[in-house]
C-alpha cells in the first residue's frame, strides 16, 4: 500500500504533470498550426478589446444574457468552477507538499474554508448531475462520457474530504484521491475538459467575430 502511494505521488505524479502540460501545449500548437492554414477568419478580424470583453462577461456571475436567462444554474456553474480551481490550488496540505518538494508554495486557505468549499463543490456537482437527469434539453445531449467525467471530477473531492475527516479507510482513500486526480489531469488536454484553456480562445473568437466586425455583444 505504501509502495503504491509512493509510486502515485512520485513517478506517476511527474508523468501526470508532463502529460497534462505537454498535452495542452501539443493541442494548442496543433490547433494554432491548423488555424494559420485554415481559419483565416480568426486572424483577419482579431481584436483584443472585443475578445477580452467577451471572456470577461462570461467569467463574472450573470455577466451574460445567457446566464441571466438561467440565473440559478449559471451561479452554481460559476461557484463550481471557482471551487474546482481554488480547493486544489490553495489547500494547505497541498501547499505543504509543494513546499517540501520544491521549497515554494502558494497562499493557503484555512482548513475550515477548504472543507466548506469542498462541500460546496460536491453540492454543485450533485446539482449539475440532477440537472443533467431532469432537464430534457440537457438530458438529450448527455452521453455516458459526460457522467463519467463529472464523476471523475468529483472523486478527488469526495475522497479528499473523507480522508481529511478520517472517515473510512484512510490509505485506500488517499490512493484513490491521488489516482483520480491524476487521471483527471491527464484527460484534460484530450477531452471536452480542454475548455480549461480553449474556452479563452473560442470565447474571444466569437467576441471579435460578432463584436469587432459587427458591434454585436456576444454575451
Amino acid at each position: 500500500m505504501q509502495a503504491w502511494y509512493a509510486f502515485l505521488t512520485g513517478p506517476a505524479l511527474w508523468a501526470t504533470f508532463i502529460i497534462f502540460l505537454g498535452g495542452l501545449v501539443i493541442r494548442l500548437t496543433f490547433l494554432y498550426g491548423l488555424s494559420r492554414e485554415r481559419d483565416r477568419v480568426f486572424y483577419n478580424h482579431m481584436d483584443w478589446t472585443w475578445g477580452l470583453k467577451s471572456i470577461l462577461h462570461w467569467l463574472i456571475p450573470w455577466g451574460s444574457a445567457s446566464m441571466r436567462l438561467q440565473p440559478v444554474f449559471s451561479f452554481v456553474f460559476i461557484v463550481f468552477h471557482v471551487g474546482l480551481l481554488a480547493v486544489p490550488l490553495f489547500l494547505s496540505a497541498h501547499n505543504i507538499l509543494w513546499d517540501r518538494a520544491f521549497g515554494v508554495s502558494l497562499w493557503s486557505m484555512s482548513d475550515a474554508w477548504a472543507d466548506a468549499l469542498t462541500m460546496v463543490v460536491l453540492a454543485c456537482g450533485v446539482f449539475l448531475l440532477i440537472r443533467r437527469l431532469v432537464r430534457p434539453e440537457v438530458r438529450i445531449l448527455t452521453t455516458a462520457w459526460d457522467y463519467t467525467l463529472l464523476g471523475l471530477t468529483l472523486t478527488p473531492f469526495v475522497t479528499g474530504f473523507l480522508a481529511y475527516h478520517q472517515w473510512g479507510p484512510y490509505e485506500w482513500l488517499m490512493i484513490l484521491h491521488v489516482l483520480s486526480a491524476e487521471v483527471l489531469l491527464v484527460l484534460i488536454p484530450f477531452t471536452k475538459l480542454g475548455h480549461m484553456v480553449l474556452f479563452f480562445f473560442t470565447r474571444a473568437f466569437i467576441g471579435f467575430e460578432m463584436g469587432a466586425r459587427r458591434g454585436a455583444r456576444a454575451w
Binding site: S35, D39, N44, Q70, E137, R203, A216
Partner: protein, 441 residues
C-alpha cells in the same frame, strides 16, 4: 418533413469525407470537441421556444445530430440519414447566429449548420425552392432568371413612371465612377418594380450620384444557403467585379438582410479573398437612409410623421449580423412618433423565421415556417404596434404571412415606402402641372 421519397442514389462517401476534411479547421474541430452539453443554447433558439421547448430543437442537438454525427461516422452514412440531416439543417435552423452568443464557448452553430448544408448539397440534397434558384443563378447570374434586357427595360420603365411624381428621375445604368452601385433583390424588378421606382425617387431627391449595373445587380446569395459554396462565391464575385469595373466608390444594398451578410461578411470568404474584406466598401440602405435624414439631404414633413404605433423588425442580417440596429432605430424615430421596441431586440433579436433561405424554400415549408414564427408573432403583438417596419425582403414576407396566420392586424412596410410618402420634395423636383391636368384632378 424532408422525405426520402425513394431517393436511392448511392452516397458518395469519398466526397463527404473530402468536405469533412476541408472543413476540419481549428475552429470546427475545437467547437465539436468542446461542447460540454450544458444545454444553455436551447433558450436562445426561437425554434425551441416556438415548439414547447422540444429538446430536439436545441442548437447543440441540431449540430450534434448532423455534422457531429457525420464526423463520428467518418462520412459512412446512408441516404436516410442524409435526409434526416436535411430536415434539421434547413427545416429547423435559419443560421441566425443568435445561439453563438448564448453558448459559454461561443460555438458558432450557424457555421456548423452551413458546413452540413454543403455536404448535403454535394449529395444532391437541397430544398427544391433553393435548387431552382441555383439553376437560375448559374444561367443568368440572378435567382429569378431575369435577363439583362428585361432588367434594364424595367429600370427605364420605372424611371419614366416616376417622372410624374419627381421631376428628372432617371435610373442610370452602368455609369462609370458613380458613388454608389445600387444592387437589388430580383423580386423587385420581377414582381415589385415600384420598389425600384421608390429608390430612384429617394436617390434623386437626395441628389445622389448612383448607378445600377446591367449585370451583377442581384445582391442576394441563395447558393450560400443552398450549400453551393462555389456558386455562392461566383455570385458575389460577379457583383464585386462589376463594381470594380465601373469604378464605383461603394456597393449599395437594397433593404435585404442576407444580401448584406453575403456582400460584407461571408462573401469575401466565399469568393476567396484572403483578407476577408470586400474589394469595394458595402453600404446598406438602412445606413444610407439614416445618413440622408441626419444630414438633411432628405427632409421629413413633420405633419406626415406616422402617428400610429410602429415597431421595428431587426433583420438578423442587418442587426445582429450587420451591426445596424441603432441606425435602424434612429431612422424609425425620424419617421414615426410612437416607436415601440420589441423584446428582445437589437443584436439579441429573434429571427422572424424567414431567414437562412427559409422563404425561398417554398410552400412545402410554409406550415413549419408559420409554426416557428410564433415567437416573432407574439413579440409583435406585445408591442401593440399597427405598423411593422422590416428592412429585409424575407422578414417582410414572413411578417406579412404571420400577420395573416396570427391575425396581428398590422401593416408591414419597408423604409423606402415610408420615405417616399413622408419626404419633402423640393420645388425643383416637383413636376410642372399643366392647367388642364390640374382641372382634372
Amino acid at each position: 418533413m424532408q422525405k426520402n421519397d425513394g431517393d436511392t442514389r448511392p452516397v458518395d462517401v469519398k466526397k463527404i469525407r473530402e468536405l469533412l476534411d476541408a472543413n476540419n479547421g481549428a475552429r470546427i474541430r475545437t467547437w465539436l470537441s468542446l461542447c460540454s452539453r450544458c444545454g444553455l443554447c436551447a433558450e436562445s433558439c426561437f425554434f425551441y421556444l416556438a415548439h414547447n421547448r422540444n429538446p430536439k430543437l436545441s442548437p447543440a442537438y441540431k449540430f450534434k445530430a448532423t455534422l457531429g454525427e457525420l464526423y463520428k461516422r467518418k462520412g459512412h452514412v446512408d441516404r436516410e440519414f442524409l435526409h434526416r440531416c436535411a430536415d434539421i439543417v434547413w427545416g429547423e435552423c435559419t443560421t441566425c447566429k443568435r445561439c453563438s452568443m448564448y453558448c459559454p464557448f461561443g460555438i458558432d452553430v450557424a457555421t456548423l449548420i452551413a458546413a452540413t448544408r454543403t455536404i448535403l448539397y454535394s449529395q444532391g440534397i437541397t430544398p427544391e425552392g433553393l435548387a431552382r434558384t441555383v439553376v437560375n443563378y448559374r444561367e443568368t447570374g440572378n435567382q429569378m432568371g431575369m435577363s439583362s434586357e428585361d432588367f434594364v427595360d424595367t429600370c427605364e420603365w420605372m424611371a419614366e413612371e416616376s417622372q410624374d411624381e419627381i421631376k428628372g428621375v432617371t435610373i442610370p445604368i452602368d455609369k462609370h465612377g458613380a458613388k454608389y452601385m445600387y444592387t437589388v433583390n430580383p423580386r423587385e424588378p420581377m414582381f415589385y418594380p415600384q420598389d425600384l421606382a421608390m429608390m430612384a425617387k429617394i436617390l434623386t431627391v437626395a441628389e445622389e450620384d448612383w448607378t445600377m449595373p446591367s449585370t451583377g445587380w442581384d445582391c442576394t446569395n441563395l447558393p450560400m444557403f443552398a450549400g453551393d459554396r462555389a456558386l455562392a462565391g461566383q455570385v458575389v464575385r460577379n457583383m464585386y467585379e462589376k463594381a470594380l469595373e465601373l469604378g464605383v466608390q461603394a456597393i449599395l444594398i437594397t433593404e435585404c438582410g442576407h444580401a448584406y451578410r453575403s456582400a460584407l461578411f461571408e462573401g469575401p470568404y466565399l469568393a476567396g479573398y484572403p483578407d476577408g474584406k470586400p474589394p469595394v466598401p458595402v453600404v446598406h440602405s438602412v445606413q444610407l437612409f439614416y445618413e440622408y435624414i441626419r444630414d438633411g439631404r432628405i427632409t421629413i414633413d413633420p405633419a406626415k410623421k406616422i402617428k400610429e404605433p410602429v415597431t421595428y423588425q431587426d433583420p438578423c442580417n442587418v442587426s445582429r449580423n450587420g451591426g445596424l440596429w441603432e441606425e435602424g432605430r434612429k431612422l424609425v424615430r425620424f419617421l414615426a412618433e410612437d416607436f415601440r421596441d420589441m423584446n428582445p431586440n437589437r443584436d439579441h433579436n429573434h429571427c422572424c423565421g424567414g431567414g437562412g433561405g427559409y422563404i425561398p424554400m417554398g410552400p412545402e415549408y410554409k406550415a413549419r415556417r408559420m409554426a416557428s414564427g410564433r415567437v416573432k408573432a407574439e413579440q409583435i403583438r406585445a408591442t401593440g404596434a399597427k405598423i411593422v417596419i422590416a428592412p429585409c425582403h424575407n422578414c417582410f414576407d414572413q411578417v406579412s404571412d404571420l400577420n395573416k396566420e396570427y391575425q396581428l392586424g398590422v401593416k408591414v412596410m419597408s423604409f423606402k415606402e415610408i420615405l417616399c410618402e413622408l419626404m419633402v420634395v423640393p420645388e425643383k423636383f416637383r413636376p410642372e402641372v399643366s392647367e388642364e391636368d390640374e382641372g382634372e384632378s
